[in-house]
């Protein structure tokens, strides 16, 4: 295989695999009958997958990330503005880093 071609093959491969992951979910669910329990499962799945991402992020991180995200969550519950709560979380994390160095 030519060395010039290999990167392009790797990129195309990654794109194909990623496209597969994006389309597989609905294909799988088309084979499952849509009962009340399945709907309940999918409802909880959609919140849970986001929770699982955040929990993993926190577990890999330090108190800095936990405090920043807690500030963001509090801001969201009080102010109901996603962008503002992101900015607050970011500011807290930046401030923490600044105090550490």
């Amino acid at each position: 295989m030519s060395a010039d071609l290999a990167p392009w093959i790797a990129i195309a491969l990654a794109a194909a695999v990623t496209f597969g992951t994006r389309t597989l979910g609905p294909v799988l669910m088309a084979r499952v009958p849509s009962t009340k329990r399945v709907q309940r499962f999918l409802d909880c799945l959609s919140t849970s997958v986001i929770v699982a991402i955040v929990a993993g992020f926190l577990a890999r991180g330090t108190p800095r990330e936990a405090v920043a995200l807690a500030a963001g969550a509090a801001a969201m519950l009080l102010l109901r503005k996603p962008l503002l709560s992101m900015a607050i979380a970011m500011a807290v994390a930046a401030l923490w880093s600044a105090c550490q160095s």
Binding site: A6, A14, V17, T21, V51, A52, M86
Partner: protein, 224 residues
């Protein structure tokens, strides 16, 4: 349902979040050129893969000769969470004609999936929101990648400015409201617990899938 109004609304809803994504795209572009990709390859990857975490993971493996099998497996592992996103959106996606189904699934990524969840909680069933949000995220990802690849970067430490917490903070903003509802306590607890417990046991990224499935199952069990 998939409407142009929804598409425009999705673009509007995600424009701000997409701006927060710019430093990541920039860092990816600069990192990719440093890892040995050409500028064209770097931009092409962001254009057709459009999945940041897996693209960063690919850079870790980018040594000649390229380990194609490892690359495919790692990309699959990191992006397998899309399968869960797609399954969660299946009731909406599978109501569309096949062509629209594929078109919508193409834009599935973390942030616009989360935003679509928020839209569903307020009663919308329009996947245009997902597609519009995905489109604006993609535009920002590709253009900031190109900028990073062209300019390069000396500033690699995103954490100094707190940028590393931005995406997680967006997810927190989306789940903050449903998390307060008492009936969601058990699924959310199960998801968080299993995700953390399996973090070091499973290959990279699969703890998210284990956690999500645990949350889904907890929801069904509680219902009975």
């Amino acid at each position: 349902m998939l409407t142009f109004q929804g598409f425009k609304a999705g673009m509007r809803r995600m424009a701000g979040v997409a701006l927060f994504g710019v430093p990541f795209g920039f860092a990816f572009g600069a990192g990719a050129v440093e890892a040995g990709l050409s500028i064209a390859q770097t931009v092409a990857m962001s254009t057709i893969v459009h999945a940041g975490a897996s693209q960063f993971a690919m850079l870790e493996l980018w040594r000649q000769p390229l380990p194609l099998l490892s690359i495919a497996v790692v990309v699959l592992a990191v992006n397998a969470r899309h399968i869960i996103f797609g399954a969660a959106l299946a009731p909406l996606l599978n109501a569309l004609p096949l062509r629209h189904r594929l078109l919508s699934a193409l834009w599935l990524s973390d942030a616009n999936f989360a935003d679509m969840q928020a839209a569903r909680q307020s009663g919308s069933r329009d996947l245009g929101i997902l597609v519009g949000g995905g489109f604006v995220m993609w535009l920002s990802w590709v253009s900031s990648t190109a900028l990073g690849a062209l300019v390069g970067g000396s500033e690699k430490d995103l954490s100094r400015f707190g940028i590393d917490v931005v995406m997680a903070a967006f997810f927190v903003a989306v789940i903050a409201t449903p998390a307060r509802r008492i009936e969601n306590l058990l699924p959310i607890g199960a998801a968080a617990l299993v995700s953390v417990a399996t973090l070091s046991l499973l290959p990279h990224g699969w703890n998210v899938i284990a956690g999500a499935l645990a949350g889904g199952i907890a929801g069904v069990i509680r219902e009975r």
